[in-house]
Structure formats: C-alpha cells, structure tokens
C-alpha cells in the first residue's frame, strides 16, 4: 500500500456490501483505503463484470463480480488490469508497482558475481500471504566482451533462465527480452545472445494454503506455516567471450520470504 502511495496511486475496493458491513470490516482490519458500497451491484454491472454464472435466486452469491482489479489514470483510462480465474489467488500491490513502474525494487534482492557478469535477482516483497503473487526482476550486467545466450538456441548451448523452487513455490513465469542474433566468426554459427545489460521480469506465485482447516480443502495444499521461509532461485546460463566459452553453469541463491499469519474471518456487522 505504501509503495502504491509513494507512486501517487490510491486504492479503493468495491463490493456489494452495505455500509455497516464495510464499516465493521474496515475497523476490524484497520483498512487504510476507502471501501465502496455497491449495494445492488449497479457499478459492477456498468463495468460489465457481474458474475453471471451465479443463479439469480442464490441468497448471497448473486451480485458478486468476477474477481479482478484495474489500475486507472486520474482521467479514468485503464492503464492495466488483472483478472484471475480463482478468487483465492491475488496479486500483491508490490507486484503491480513493479510491473507498472519498473525500477525501485530492492526490497528483497540478492546479487551474484561471476567472471562474466554481475546479476541481481529481486522479489517485489519479502513478505506475503499464501496464494499471493510476487513480482520478479532479473538484472544482469555483462562484463566487457562477455555474452550469455537466449532463445532460440541449438541444444548444445544453454540459454539463460531463472527458476524458483522450494515448498512455497506455486506457479512462476519469466519473460525475457528478445536477444540479439550474432554471428560467431570462430564457430561460423549465428546465435541468440545478450550483451551489456539484460533485464527480465516475471512473477512468482506462492502456493495457496487453506485459511481454515476445512477437511475438504486439506488435500489441495500442504498448509504453509506462517513465519520465515526461503525460496531458492536457480540461475542457469552459459557465458562466453570472444576468446573463451565456459561450460553451461548454474548458481542457486536463497531469498528470504516471510509468510504472514492468516486473517480471522470478518466480524459480523452490528
């Protein structure tokens, strides 16, 4: 939230709840943004995101939206939006900042130094709830004369990749920029390379963990205990210069990640 505010972005939520429900929720969880009451779901309808799968006569699910969020400019233009197929999984504010404002990471960062490059792997936060998604940035500054490989690439070379592992890791993806193609005179081959600076960005989804011990949810996820955890990031690459080509290599680093305590169910409005 603070990261958003520092970028001049406010936040607000919209639900179909009445003002009394929202007032109780806001107070109980010390919510720092306006919670808007769309009783009757007319604004949800105007946005075209009323969940039309819910049967008309459903006592409380009728009127909910498809779960998602918009980043809008002050004039109402949609800058970005995220809709998710399941309401359990949500992006973190830190990822939205990272995605839309690039730099300014460094909250949770680890660097790697080799003879060929200096790299930094950054997560958009060092804490989150189970089921949230973090932003990832990989920055690699090549030493002069060195390059690493990208895709497409013959199979006997290794393209750069970053992969996360560990108990917390759910889905993940990394998007690499288009590499340059370069003719290697000594090899008489044209290969996909990154020289000078490479910045790749992506997401790391933390596995969802049932917030309450409902027996039917148990097989879905091993419960993630709140507290300090680690995720392992493995950078795979092959570095070559004009005169030397190193074998494929990999370096694993640890990034700390604290899993927040689950939240209790919302209070009943009085």
């Amino acid at each position: 939230m603070i990261k958003l505010q520092n970028r001049g972005i406010n936040a607000a939520s919209v639900t179909y709840d009445g003002g009394d429900v929202l007032a109780a929720f806001s107070k109980a969880y010390k919510i720092g943004y306006p919670m808007l009451s769309d009783q009757g779901s007319n604004v949800i309808r105007a946005f075209g995101i009323l969940n039309t799968n819910i049967p008309n006569d459903h006592p409380f699910m009728q009127g909910i939206p498809w779960p998602g969020e918009y980043l809008v400019a002050p004039d109402g233009t949609v800058l970005d939006k995220v809709f998710v197929p399941s309401y359990e999984f949500r992006r973190t504010a830190s990822e939205i900042v990272l995605r839309n404002f690039g730099a300014g990471v460094g909250d949770n960062s680890v660097s790697i130094q080799t003879g060929a490059f200096t790299a930094a792997i950054s997560l958009s936060s060092d804490r989150c709830f189970p089921g949230q998604e973090l932003g990832v940035i990989l920055d690699i500054h090549m030493n002069p004369g060195w390059h690493i490989y990208g895709k497409p690439l013959p199979e006997y070379y290794r393209a750069v990749e970053l992969q996360f592992s560990g108990d917390l890791v759910g889905n993940q993806r990394m998007d690499f920029p288009e590499p340059k193609t370069k003719l290697m005179p000594a090899l008489d081959e044209t290969l996909s390379v990154y020289e000078e600076h490479l910045r790749a960005s992506g997401t790391l989804g933390i596995r969802w963990s049932p917030p309450m011990p409902a027996p039917f949810l148990k097989p879905l996820a091993k419960t993630i205990a709140p507290g300090k955890h680690k995720v392992i990031g493995t950078l795979r690459f092959q570095a070559c210069s004009e005169t030397a080509c190193e074998p494929p290599d990999e370096i694993a680093v640890e990034l700390p990640l604290s899993i927040n305590e689950g939240v209790p169910p919302p209070p009943k409005a009085t």
Binding site: L4, R7, G8, I9, N10, A11, A12, S13, V14, T15, Y16, G19, V21, L22, F25, I31, P34, M35, L36, S37, D38, V43, I44, F47, G48, I49, N51, N53, P55, H58, F60, M61, I64, P65, W66, P67, G68, E69, Y70, L71, V72, A73, P74, G76, T77, V78, L79, K81, F83, P85, S86, Y87, E88, I96, P215, F216, L217, L220, P266, A269
Partner: protein
C-alpha cells in the same frame, strides 16, 4: 461449461456449505471454483475509459474517481464481499 450443470454445482456446494460443509470433497470443491468463474469477463479494455461511478464509502461519504484518485491514478479492486 453447461449453464444448467454450472447452476447445479453452485447451488449444491452453497447448500452444503450452509449446512456446515458435510459432503463436500476436494473434487467437488474444485468444480465449484471452476463453475464460479467459468468464462469470466474483464470489463473495460486497457486504454478504454471506465464508466463514471458514484458510491458511498464505509463512512457513508459519496466517492467518485475524482476524489479517490492519487496524482497518478487509482487501483480499483473488485471483490466478492467483506462479509464472507
């Protein structure tokens, strides 16, 4: 997903949840999650304008984009309910 089947899944699980959760298993829960968001739509496209709106906030104050936005914009989050 067939709308009739979807409705039956939604009603069946919601009824069982109301009765304390007995009879729900992992497979039926996952079907329930799928049924809720099957074919979901995402509203105004990136680059389009959102519809104008005026809504009361949790303090009863009427809010619109103009008095919600920061200098660079607003993150507007749509969620199901603060009650369940």
């Amino acid at each position: 997903m067939d709308p009739k089947e979807r409705g039956e899944i939604l009603n069946d699980i919601a009824r069982k949840m109301g009765a304390g959760g007995a009879g729900i298993n992992t497979a039926s829960w996952l079907k329930f999650v799928d049924a809720q968001n099957d074919g979901y739509r995402t509203g105004p496209a990136i680059g389009a304008r959102i519809p104008a709106f005026e809504l009361p906030d949790h303090n009863g104050v009427t809010r619109a984009l103009s008095n919600l936005t920061g200098t660079n914009g607003l993150l507007l989050v749509f969620s199901r309910s603060a009650a369940w």
